[in-house]
Every structure is written in C-alpha cells, then in structure tokens.
Amino acid sequence: MSRHIVATVDDIPPGKRMLVNVKGREIGIFNVDGEYLAISNRCPHEGASLCKGRIVGLVESSEPGSYQLSRQGELLRCPWHGWEFDLRTGKSWCEPNRTKVRSYELKVEAGGALVEGELKAETFPVSIEKQYVVIEV
C-alpha cells in the first residue's frame, strides 16, 4: 500500500466528484457534505464506469404510497442498470451482503504536514498553504 496525493480540497467542492487514476486503478473521489469518499470506478455488476452515474438521495417507504427522501447526495446510481450504492460504505443498497464496490482510505492533509519523498504527488506540486486529498492504494 502506498499513499498518493490526488487533488486539493478546492478541486472537489461539496457535491462534486473527481475521477483519478492511481497505480492503474480508476477511482472516484466524492465530496459528500465535506466528507471525502473514494470508490472504485468499476461497477461490480457489469463493469460500468460507476462514477459517471447520478448522485442521488435515499428513497425509502414506510408503506405503499408513501415516499421518504433522505441522505441527499450520499448514494450513487450506476449509469447503466441504475443499481444504488451507498457512497459511505460502497455497498449495494439492494444486496449489501453480496455486492459492494471497493472503497479506499482517504485523508485530508495540510500541505505543511506532507513529507516529501514519502508521498507521490500525481499531477501537481505541493504547497504548504493548501489542503490535499490523500488516498491509500
């Protein structure tokens, strides 16, 4: 496992996402209400580019005819078959025990705290004043 700087926090404001390539893997970084989450870009169902799907809320129901919407921005629908994945856990909403998209450890770190040589900055130089999204792959 190694750690990689992939973006500044300004690159991914709340509600937005970024697709990055780390060690040959495509990974989607999502900013859900200030929290950064990282999942693989491949849908476990048929390999679709998961991160091109719509970010949605959670639809539930207490009984037929009633609809409750919550957790807006916390789920992702695969762009193909529409399977819902919980961004926080990577699990399929319909079959959480069976189908999961791989998720990755993420940290936000200040530029000053990053030690040269230990990390690999992908596409940009590190500045002491900025905050960076660091992913472990």
């Binding site: 495509e26 169902h45 048929e46 390999g47 679709a48 091109k52 193909w80 078959h81 529409g82």
Partner: protein, 367 residues
Amino acid sequence: MSIVELDRDRPAEAKLRVIDCDIHPSMTAWTEVHPYLARQWIEHLTVYGSHLRHAFSEALTHPRMSPDAARVDAYPDEGGPPGSSLALMRSQHLDPNGVELGMLIPLRWNPGSQRNLDFGVALTQAMNTWQIERWVKNEPRLRASVLIAQEDTAGSVAEIDARAADRNFTQILVLPRTDEPFGRRRYWPIFEAAVRNNLPIAIHVGGTNGHPSTGGGWPSYYMEEHHAVAETMQAVLTSLVFEGVFERFPKLRVVIMEGGLGWIPSLSARMDKHWARLRSEVPHLKRPPSEYIREQVWFTTQPMEEPARASQLIDLFDRIGWDRLLFSTDYPHWDFDDPRYAFKAPLSAAQRDQLLYRNAQAFYGTR
C-alpha cells in the same frame, strides 16, 4: 462535476469479436427523416405527429427509470440523445467492444403502431432509407432492418420487396404489440414475403396496440411493465406456433429480441404438454411446438439472466440450445449488456465465441 481526463475508461482486452444483434440508433430530431419523406408527410408529421392507441401521443405508457431509457454515460458531447452520434457509438461501443457487425433496430416512434396507416407506411419507408444514408453508408460495421407497418400488409410486402435486394438490410423488423397476435393469418403475406426474399423476421420488444400489458389490466409501475414485455414475447411465440406459421413456412426464421431467456424452456414444455391434450383444436400443427421453436426460432441474449448460481445459467443455455442464442447489447439503453461481463458463468473460449459471434454469423449468413 469535474472529471480528470484519462486514457480510456477500461483497459482494452485482447481478441474480443462480437456481432451485436441489437443496437438502437436515434435521431437528433425528426428533421433527420425529412429528406426521405414526401412534403405531405413532412407537414403531417409536424402538424399531427404520432397518433397511437394510448393516452400519450409520443411518450411511453410507463416512464423509464433513466432519461431516454438510456445509459447515463451515453450522451454525446455535441448534444442529441443517446444513440444519435455515430462517433460516440464507435468510441464508446463498436471499437472497445470488438463489434464487427451491429444490427440496427430503430424503435421510435413505432411506425408499425401508428393508427394512421398511410402515415405509418411512409414513416417506415423514410426510416429505412434513413438507416442506410445516416448510418450504414458511414459505418461499414452496421446493418439495417426493414421496418414495416405490419397492419398494412400490402404496404409491408411492397416495402420488403423494395428493400430485399439491398444486402445492407439483414432482416425485417416488427414490434410484437400488433393489432392482432402476429401469427394470425392476416399477417401471412408478410411471412410469405420474408421467405421469398430469404429475410428473417426480428421481433423486438415494443409497440402499442391498445391492449393492456396484462390480460388482467394495465400495470401501475414500470417494474411490472418491464416484466410484462417477457410475457408479451411468450404470447407472440405461442401465436406463431399455434397459428401454424412455422408449419406453413418451414423456411421462415424468427429472432425474438430483448424478451429474456429464462422462460424459454418452460414455455416450450408447456406448449408441448397442452398441445398434446388439445391438438384436435389445431390439426394444422403436425409436430410438437418445441420442435418448431428448436428449428426456426432464435433469441437475442440481452437482458441476460442472472441466476443465483453459474451452473443454473449453463443449464438454461443447455436447455434452450447454445446455437439458438445471439448476443446483443441493446446499446445505448440502460439495461445494456457488456460482452465481457454479461455472462455470469465461466465460458470456454469456444463457447464465448459461439455466443458472441459465430451463431449470429451463421444466422445472418455473413461471410
């Protein structure tokens, strides 16, 4: 949404060769067919438009779960709906998926379901020309289907005969929700023209005929409607068998498109069982239904079944017959099947090649 540009979305895989039997091209606007329509019909199209047997003149009865019933990632950069850009079709599908041949199945807006028969016929003629001019001429991998307005059998036969010499047309296309079950004798001139011209008939999910989607009424939800299309295919296959279409036209070949596969062995057995009991009603049938199906009917594979265990899928293919299956993706629709990942069962290279390529190669007689 900001996305870092990458090389490609998926690594290229070696030696994937595919014949995709179900690709849906679309228009950016109706004006695309204007060059192939008489002035009278351009005006009619503009003023009166589509006229169907349900409440909406153009929208589907049950809204789909995604816009245009399509993959969310299939919108061309230059604008237009999914399926309207040849460039994107190439870069997103034909090239990376190893598609050597793709069969075009234009759907909107149901020329065969138009209540105004003359309008429907004119539309089919225009859309047939559109397929060639807009798609096939610009992309040698694509082939066209002869659209017909099946309720006008004379018009349909004329159109089939007019297109048959053009080998860019590989089949005749009908949507199964016709005025009467498609095996009924009023449609037999179409089968006769198909056989005479050595063209198979593709029956692809769709159509509106004013009949509810179920024999017990209209469904409320798309979840039901999406299921009912499989039952509709069962009904059309039953009609073709029991009306004696296969008996009367032993050289006719039919491909059932997008109806699913899971019901095929069960329905074949059910047909055989009850035919044995009730055969005095249909003396024109000389053989068990399952035999006609085994010899004269093929099935496209999308949407692929996903049973709990891989062995169940293999068992399903064994019972249908591996030679019956023609791979399809349904690009650019939402329930697209990727040729690499659609089969949730380990296949040998030979089996994979048979499903993805060789069966369709034999069926369409290419090369």
